[in-house]
C-alpha cells in the first residue's frame, strides 16, 4: 500500500524549502501547488523541493509540478529539485521539467546556490 502523501515546508531567508513524503500520485500533492502559489504571492520566488522521501512519482505528480514550474516562470522565480532518484531524474528530463528547473543532489546545495 502506497504511503499517504504529506509535506513540510519552511522559509530559509529568500528560499522556500518543501520536503515531500510519500508517493506523489495522489491529489494530496496539490498541496505543493498551493504552498508555492502562497509563497510567490508573498514575494518568495526561489523554491527548493526536496523529493528524497518521494521516490515514486507518476503522471499526477508530474502534472502538479508542471503547474508549479509555470507559476514560478511567470513570477520570474527559480525552482530546484533535490535528491531525485535516477528514475525520477530520467522522467523529469524526458518531460522537459529540467529545462525549467535545476536539479541538485542535496537540499543544502540548492539552498546555498539560491542564497548566493
Amino acid at each position: 500500500m502506497a504511503e499517504e502523501f504529506s509535506l513540510v515546508h519552511q522559509v530559509d531567508g529568500p528560499v522556500l524549502i518543501i520536503r515531500t513524503k510519500g508517493y506523489l500520485n495522489d491529489l494530496g500533492a496539490e498541496q505543493v501547488d498551493t504552498i508555492c502559489s502562497d509563497s510567490l504571492g508573498k514575494g518568495i520566488k526561489k523554491i527548493v523541493i526536496n523529493l528524497e522521501q518521494s521516490p515514486l512519482i507518476n503522471s499526477i505528480g508530474i502534472s502538479i509540478l508542471i503547474g508549479v514550474i509555470e507559476a514560478i516562470e511567470e513570477a520570474g522565480g527559480a525552482l530546484a529539485f533535490t535528491n531525485l532518484t535516477p528514475t525520477n531524474r530520467k522522467t523529469f528530463e524526458m518531460m522537459g521539467l529540467l529545462q525549467f528547473a535545476q536539479a541538485f543532489d542535496a537540499e543544502a546545495d540548492a539552498v546555498k546556490a539560491y542564497k548566493a
Binding site: 499526477i60 502534472s63 508542471i66
Partner: protein, 529 residues
C-alpha cells in the same frame, strides 16, 4: 560506425522510456477505476494523469448529461474559468456522437461549440478531444499548452487520442457504477422501509383490543419516524368530537376530548381527509388556533385514520428526535402505516361492538365467560390471585316500576360508568345480565378486591339521579370471591361470588361480602354501610 549508432540508440531509449511512461499512465487509469473514492475525485485524478502524461500545465473535463442535454465543465486544473456549460442541440449531439476519427482536434480547428470554447481564450488551449464510448457522448477534454508552448509531436497527439479513449471508458464505468450504487442505495432504503412497515403492521394486524392496538400503533410510529411526541384521537360522529386514545410524551396539554367545532385543523382534516404537514418554515395556508397549537405543536404531521372512506380518527406526530423536519421518507411511511392502522382500528371497533353491551359499554356475558376462563388458566399456571366481584343493584325492579324503564336504563348507565372508572387497564367490567354486573380483577387478592368493591359500593351510594324534580338514590350489593382462596375452578369462583352476593342481600343489602374460604380457613369478612 559505433559513434553514428550512439545518438540513434539514445533516441530509441528515450522513446522506450516515453512509451513506458504512457503505459504506466494507462495502468494508473485502470487502477483509478478500482479506487473507492468519490466521482469528482476520480475525475480529477484522471485529468491530472492525462496532463502529467502529456506534460501539459492546464486542462479540463466537460461531461454531457443526456437527461438535461447540458455539457458542463465538471473538473479543471489551472483553467481561467471554473464553470462553463452549454445545452447542446440534438444536431450537435448527433454530430459529435457520429463523428469518426479523428476525435482529437487542434483547439483552433475544432469545428463545434465555438461559443463555449471561446470562453477559454485566455487559456490558450492546445487540443480538444471528444470523449465518447460506442457513439455515446460522454463529454469533452480540453488541454492547454506544453511548457514553453512547444508543439505536440505526432506521437503526443496519438497519446492524447489513446488516453482520451481510455478516460472515456473510465468515466463511463464510473457513471455506470455511480448509477448502480445510487440504485442499490435506493433499493436498500426501500427494503428497510418495507421491513419496518411489515414489522409494524404485523404487530397491529392481529390486535383486537382497541386501547392496546392504539398504544402499539403509537409506539410503532414513534420508532418509524423517531419522534418524541404524538397522539392518536378517534372520532365519534354522533357527538362530533375526538377522544384521546393514546399519546406519546407529555400529555399535560392534552384534553380528554376535542370537539370538532373547537379545532379548525381537525375540521380541515375531516373535510379533506389528506395528511397535514407543518414544517419549521411554516405551513400551507392552514389556520391554527390556540387550542390546535397547544395540542399539535408548531411542527407536525397529522394523518387521517380512514377505512374504506370512513373517517375513524387521526394520528399526530411531532418533535423529531433529530430536531429536523419530517422527511419525505417519514411522510411516505406514516401514510402507508395509517392505511394499515385504519383497517386494524375498524376491526378492533367491530370486535369491541360484538363483545360489549351497546347501552352500558361494558363487556357482555359471553365475552366474560371466555375471558374469565382464560384469566383463570393464567392464574393457575402462574400461581397468581384472581378476584371476581359480582354486583346487583338493590330493588331495581321496584325502581323500574316506579320511575319507568328510561330511569332504570339511566341507573344502569351510571353504575356502568362508576365501574369503568374504578378499574385498571387489565380489569374487566361486565354487564352480567339485567341489573347484575361483574368485575374480573387479575392479580388481586381478597383484601384488594374487597377494597375495590367497597369503593364502588360507596360511589354508587353517593350517586344522585334526578327524575322529574325528584332525587333518586340507589345502592348495590356485592359478593367477592378470589382464586385460590374461594375456588379452584372458574365456575366455582362465580358460584362463590354469587353466594357471597346472596348473603349481602340477606344481610340487608348495600354491602360487600367475601366468599367463604375453602382452604386455608379464612374468616368471612363483611363490611357494611
Amino acid at each position: 560506425m559505433a559513434d553514428e549508432r550512439q545518438p540513434q540508440d539514445q533516441s530509441y531509449q528515450e522513446q522506450v522510456l516515453r512509451y513506458e511512461y504512457v503505459l504506466k499512465a494507462l495502468s494508473d487509469i485502470g487502477e483509478e477505476l478500482c479506487r473507492v473514492t468519490s466521482f469528482e475525485t476520480q475525475l480529477k485524478s484522471l485529468l491530472h494523469l492525462l496532463l502529467g502524461t502529456l506534460g501539459v500545465s492546464k486542462g479540463g473535463i466537460f461531461l454531457y448529461d443526456s437527461m438535461s442535454g447540458e455539457l458542463s465543465l465538471r473538473c479543471s486544473w489551472k483553467l481561467s474559468a471554473r464553470k462553463a456549460s452549454v445545452v447542446l442541440t440534438r444536431e450537435e449531439v448527433d454530430a459529435l456522437e457520429k463523428l469518426a476519427d479523428p476525435i482529437t482536434f487542434s483547439a483552433a480547428d475544432f469545428p463545434y461549440l465555438k461559443h463555449l470554447i471561446a470562453q477559454f481564450a485566455a487559456d490558450d488551449l492546445n487540443s480538444i478531444s471528444i470523449l465518447k464510448v460506442r457513439e455515446k457522448l460522454i463529454g469533452l477534454l480540453v488541454v492547454g499548452q506544453k511548457l514553453k508552448r512547444s508543439p505536440f509531436s505526432e506521437k503526443e497527439t496519438s497519446f492524447l487520442t489513446t488516453l482520451s479513449r481510455n478516460i472515456s471508458v473510465a468515466i463511463n464505468n464510473f457513471l455506470l457504477l455511480s448509477e448502480l450504487r445510487e440504485t442499490n442505495k435506493r433499493l436498500d432504503e426501500k427494503i428497510q422501509e418495507v421491513s419496518i412497515l411489515y414489522q409494524a403492521t404485523q404487530m397491529i394486524a392481529s390486535e383486537l383490543q382497541l386501547k392496546t392496538l392504539l398504544d402499539m400503533a403509537m409506539n410503532a410510529t414513534s420508532e418509524i419516524s423517531e419522534v418524541t411526541r404524538g397522539s392518536i384521537w378517534l372520532y365519534d360522529e354522533d357527538t362530533e368530537r375526538f377522544t384521546l386514545c393514546s399519546h406519546l410524551g407529555d400529555s399535560a396539554n392534552l384534553p380528554e376530548h376535542l370537539p370538532l367545532a373547537d379545532s379548525p385543523l381537525c375540521h380541515h382534516l375531516l373535510q379533506h381527509k389528506v395528511p397535514l404537514i407543518r414544517t419549521a418554515n411554516g405551513l400551507n395556508d392552514l389556520h391554527l388556533n390556540e387550542l390546535d397549537s397547544r395540542i399539535f405543536g408548531n411542527t407536525f404531521i397529522i394523518v387521517p385514520i380512514i377505512h374504506q372512506g370512513e373517517f375513524l380518527g387521526l394520528m399526530h406526530l411531532s418533535e423529531k428526535i433529530s430536531q429536523g423536519d419530517f422527511t419525505e421518507r417519514d411522510q411516505r411511511l406514516i401514510k402507508v402505516f395509517a392505511v394499515q392502522l385504519g383497517a386494524a382500528v375498524k376491526n378492533a371497533k367491530l370486535y369491541e361492538q360484538a363483545i360489549t353491551d351497546g347501552m352500558t359499554h361494558l363487556y357482555l356475558h359471553r365475552y366474560f365467560k371466555q375471558r374469565l376462563a382464560d384469566e383463570f388458566k393464567r392464574a393457575v399456571r402462574f400461581k397468581r390471585n384472581l378476584a371476581l366481584i359480582m354486583i346487583d343493584i338493590d330493588h331495581f325492579k321496584k325502581l323500574n316500576d316506579t320511575y319507568g324503564h328510561q330511569t332504570g336504563d339511566e341507573v344502569l348507565k351510571r353504575v356502568a360508568s362508576i365501574m369503568r372508572k374504578a378499574v385498571r387497564t387489565h380489569d374487566l367490567p361486565v354487564r352480567y345480565g339485567g341489573e347484575e354486573f361483574a368485575l374480573v380483577l387479575p392479580e388481586t387478592d381478597m383484601a384488594g378486591a374487597l377494597a375495590v368493591a367497597e369503593r364502588v359500593r360507596k360511589s354508587i351510594e353517593h350517586e344522585v339521579i334526578e327524575h322529574n324534580g325528584k332525587t333518586i338514590r340507589i345502592t348495590a350489593s356485592f359478593g367477592v370471591s378470589v382464586h385460590p382462596d374461594s375456588a379452584t375452578e372458574a365456575e366455582a369462583l362465580i358460584k362463590a361470588a354469587d353466594e357471597a352476593l346472596y348473603r349481602s342481600k340477606e344481610n340487608g343489602r348495600n354491602r360487600v361480602t367475601a366468599a367463604q374460604a375453602i382452604h386455608p380457613p379464612l374468616d368471612p369478612t363483611t363490611s357494611s354501610s
